[in-house]
Amino acid sequence: MNTTGDQADQLGLEQASAKLEALEAMIARAVIGQDQVIRESVVALVAAGHVLLEGLPGVGKTLLVRAMAAALGGRFSRVQFTPDLMPSDVTGHAMFDLKSEEFRIRRGPIFCNLLLGDEINRAPAKTQAAMLEAMQEQQVTIEGRALPLTPPFLVFATQNPIEQEGTYPLPQAQLDRFLLKVFIDYPEESEEIAMVRQATQGRVGDQLDTSRVEQVLSTHELRGIQRLAADLEMDDSILDYAVRLVRAARDWQGIETGPGPRATVALVRAARGHALASGNGFVTPDDVKAMAASVLRHRLKLTADLEIEGYQPDDVLRDLLSAVPAPRA
C-alpha cells in the first residue's frame, strides 16, 4: 500500500486548500501577472481536466506548464507539434529488439502525468486524434495492446490565435475533450516590469526559468485533492443553474451550435474545482459562473454574422450569464 497516497486520501478541506494555495503561489513565482490563468489551470488540475491554452507568442504559455510541472512533481513531457509529427511520435511504437529477438513496446512522451502539447494545431488531424483519444480514454493502444496511462494524466495544449497559415484547427468534437479553454493575455505594465526584471537579472540566455519553483504537491496528493473536489457538497440548485446556463446557450441568439451535455458535466466539475481552490467546502453559483466562460467558450460556435461583426464567444457568454437568473433565495 502506498503510504503517501493514504496520507493524500486523508487530506482535509483546509489542508487541500492550503496545498492549492501554495501551488498557485509557487507557479506565480515563475509566471508573473497571470493570476486568473493560474487559478483556472489549478482548477483544471483539481477537476482532472485537460486545458487548451490560447495566447499570443511570448505570453508565458509554456512557462506556465513548466512551472506547474515543477510544482507538481510527477513526470512531465513536452511535445512540439509540427506538420510532420506522426501519431507514433506521441504515443509510442513497437520495435524489434535484436538481442531478445522479440518486439518491444517503446512508449512515447504521452506516458507521463503532465503533457505539454505545444502548438497542437500545427499537427495533422491524425496525430491530434491519437492524442485526443488518449485524453478521453486515459489509455494508449500500441500494436493491439491497450496500455493505461498513469493517473493523474493531464494535457495542457497550447495554440496561438494568429498565424493560422499551415495549421489544422481542432474540430469541434475534439475541442470538446478539453475541460477548459484558457486565454493568456498580455500582463499589466507593472507585472511586465517585474517579469522582465526576474527574467534578466543574473540570467544568461533566454531559457525558461523555473528554478525558483519548488515542488509543493505530489501526484498522489493531487489525486486525493481531486477526490475531495468530487465529493464536495453541492446543492441541487447549483446543478439546476449549470444545466439552465448550458441549455440557454443552445437556444441563444447568435449561437449557431451550442454546447452539449458534456459541457454541463465539465461545468459542474470545474465549479467543484473552483470551489476547492477558493477554499470553500461547498459549491456556490459563483463557482459555476466563474468557470462558465472557460468551459463554454470553445464549445459553442457563433453565427457567421456575429463572427463577421467581430463578436467573440466571450461577448455572447457575458450577456448570457447576466441574463440567466442565478439561484438566489
Binding site: 456556490t284 453559483p285 461583426e309 461577448d315 437568473p325 438566489r328
Partner: protein, 488 residues
C-alpha cells in the same frame, strides 16, 4: 489666331484621328509637360499632406480631386506649343495665371466627375466663355461625339494599369532580404507604409497619363473647331494669298469671290463693275484649276435594306398599334411598381436581418436591463410588511431556511432602496461585490453576514442556530433602521 503657324496639319479629322494627334503631341512634348505637371502638383500635394493630417487615403483623394488644377497649365502650354510658341521658365507665372482661373471652379465641383473634362476644358480656358454662351458653345462643339468619354475611360484604366504595374514591379524586384511589400496592406491598410507607397505610385501614374489626356482632349477640341470653322480652308486661302505671283490665279479667284461679295453688298457702288464675259472666262479658268476642279472618289458602305423598312418592319393597323402602345405604357408602370416593391422588400429584409443579427446583442442587453428594473419591485412585492416578525414567526415554526431566505431577500430589497442595481443573473457573490462597490464598508458588513449565512445554509446545508438567525435579524434591523433615519 495665326493658323499658318500651326505645327500640325490643319484638316478635318474625325474623333479618333483627333485623339491620335493628341497622343502624338504628348509624345513629342512629354518631358516639358510632365515637369509642368509636377510643378503644379507638387506644392498642392505638400499642402494637402498637412491638410489631411498625413492620412494617405485622404491625401490621394484630394490630389485626385484637384486634377483639373494641374491640367490647366498643361493645356495652355500645349495650345501655345501647337502654334509654335514654346513657353519657358520665365513664362511660368503667365502660364499658371491662365491655366488656373476662377472659371475652373465648376471643373472642381459638379463637372469634376464628368467624362468629357479634357475636351471641354479648352472651351473654358482658351475661349473664356461663361453662362449661356458657354452652354451653347459646348452643345455645338460636342455634337454628341462619344470619343471624349472613351478617352477619359481609357485614361483611367491606363492609370490603374500603370499603378498596379509599379506596385507589382516593386513587389517582385525588391530582394527577399529586404522588407516585403504587403500588397493587401497597400490597398486596404491606410496605416501601413505599403499604403503610402501605393498612394505615391498612383500619383506617379497620374503624372504620366495627364499629358496624354490633356493633349488628346485639346486635339479633339482643335479638330472639331477645324471642322466647324473651316480652318483648313482659311489657311488655304491665306497660303494662296501669300504665295504672290506664283499664285496669281488663286489670287484672282479670291478677288473674284470678294468682288462677287461686294456686288451683292447693298449700298456699295464705288467699286467698278467687272466685265461679265471676262469674269465668266476667269471663273471657268479657276474651276479648271486642280484646287477646285479635282474629283475625289470616296467609298462608303451603304446598307442594302431601305431605311423605311428598318423603321417599320411590321406594318400594323393603327388600332393595334395604339393598343400595343397602351399595353407597353401600362407594362412600364407595372415594372416600376414591381421595382419599388422589390426595393421595399429588400429594405424590410435588411432591417429584419439587422435586427436578428447585428442588434441581437443589444436586445439581449436591453432585456437584461428590463430584468434589473423588474426584479426589485418583484422582490419588494414578495416581502411581508414586518420582516422581523415574519422571520421570527418562521423560526418559531421551525422553518429556518424560510427565515434565512426571507432575511436575505429583505437585504436585497434594502440594497435596491440604497441604489444598488442587481441584475437577474447576479449570484450572491455578485450581489456582495456590487454592494461593496456602491456602499461604505460599514453598510456592507450586515449584508455580508447574511450572505455568508445564506451561502452556508443554501449550498452547504449547514443550518445556523435560531440564536444565529436572531443575531443576523438584529444586525439587519439596525442596518435598515439606520438607513431609514438617514433618509428621514
Amino acid at each position: 489666331m495665326e493658323l499658318d503657324r500651326a505645327t500640325a496639319a490643319l484638316r478635318p479629322r474625325d474623333g479618333w484621328e483627333g485623339q491620335d494627334l493628341g497622343f502624338a503631341m504628348a509624345r513629342a512634348w512629354l518631358l516639358p509637360l510632365w515637369l509642368l505637371w509636377w510643378l503644379s502638383a507638387l506644392p498642392i500635394g505638400v499642402l494637402c499632406l498637412f491638410l489631411t493630417g498625413f492620412r494617405p487615403d485622404l491625401w490621394l483623394l484630394a490630389l485626385w480631386w484637384l486634377k483639373p488644377v494641374y491640367e490647366g497649365p498643361l493645356l495652355i502650354w500645349a495650345s501655345r506649343a501647337l502654334f509654335g510658341e514654346r513657353l519657358g521658365w520665365s513664362d511660368l507665372r503667365t502660364l499658371f495665371r491662365a491655366g488656373v482661373p476662377r472659371r475652373l471652379l465648376p471643373y472642381l465641383l459638379w463637372r469634376r466627375i464628368g467624362m468629357r473634362r479634357s475636351f471641354l476644358m479648352p472651351l473654358t480656358l482658351l475661349e473664356g466663355l461663361q453662362g449661356r454662351a458657354a452652354r451653347e458653345r459646348r452643345r455645338v462643339i460636342s455634337n454628341g461625339s462619344g470619343v471624349p468619354f472613351w478617352l477619359t475611360l481609357v485614361c483611367y484604366h491606363f492609370e490603374i494599369i500603370l499603378w498596379a504595374s509599379l506596385l507589382l514591379g516593386i513587389f517582385f524586384l525588391v530582394p527577399q532580404e529586404l522588407p516585403r511589400l504587403d500588397l493587401m496592406a497597400a490597398v486596404t491598410d491606410d496605416a501601413s507604409w505599403a499604403y503610402w507607397i501605393s498612394a505615391i505610385a498612383y500619383v506617379f501614374a497620374f503624372s504620366m497619363v495627364a499629358p496624354f489626356y490633356v493633349c488628346a482632349g485639346f486635339a479633339l477640341y482643335f479638330s472639331r473647331r477645324t471642322e466647324l470653322e473651316a480652318w483648313d480652308l482659311e489657311l488655304a486661302f491665306k497660303t494662296v494669298r501669300e504665295s504672290g505671283p506664283k499664285g496669281a490665279r488663286g489670287l484672282s479667284a479670291m478677288l473674284l469671290i470678294v468682288g462677287a461679295g461686294l456686288l451683292t453688298a447693298p449700298g456699295v457702288d464705288a467699286a467698278p463693275m467687272p466685265d461679265p464675259d471676262r469674269a465668266k472666262a476667269l471663273i471657268a479658268e479657276v474651276l479648271e484649276d486642280p484646287d477646285f476642279g479635282s474629283v475625289k472618289e470616296v467609298e462608303v458602305w451603304v446598307p442594302i435594306e431601305s431605311p423605311d423598312e428598318e423603321e417599320d418592319p411590321v406594318r400594323l393597323p393603327e388600332g393595334v398599334k395604339a393598343v400595343l402602345l397602351m399595353v407597353a405604357g401600362s407594362l412600364k408602370w407595372i415594372l416600376l411598381a414591381f421595382a419599388v416593391a422589390g426595393i421595399l422588400l429588400l429594405l424590410l429584409r435588411i432591417l429584419r436581418d439587422r435586427r436578428r443579427l447585428g442588434w441581437s446583442l443589444r436586445r439581449v442587453r436591453s432585456r437584461s436591463r428590463m430584468a434589473v428594473s423588474e426584479s426589485e419591485p418583484m422582490v419588494e412585492a414578495s416581502l411581508p410588511n414586518d420582516i422581523a416578525q415574519a422571520v421570527r414567526q418562521r423560526l418559531r415554526d421551525g422553518d429556518r431556511r424560510g427565515a434565512l431566505s426571507l432575511l436575505y431577500r429583505a437585504s436585497l430589497a434594502h440594497l435596491g432602496r440604497l441604489g444598488v442595481e442587481i441584475p437577474e443573473g447576479a449570484t450572491e457573490g455578485d450581489c456582495l461585490r456590487l454592494a461593496r462597490r456602491a456602499l461604505p464598508r460599514a453598510e456592507v458588513a450586515p449584508f455580508k453576514r447574511v450572505t455568508q449565512a445564506w451561502w452556508g445554509f443554501a449550498y452547504a446545508h449547514r443550518a445556523p442556530s435560531d440564536a444565529g438567525v436572531e443575531s443576523l435579524l438584529e444586525a439587519w434591523s439596525q442596518w435598515t433602521a439606520q438607513a431609514r433615519e438617514e433618509a428621514a
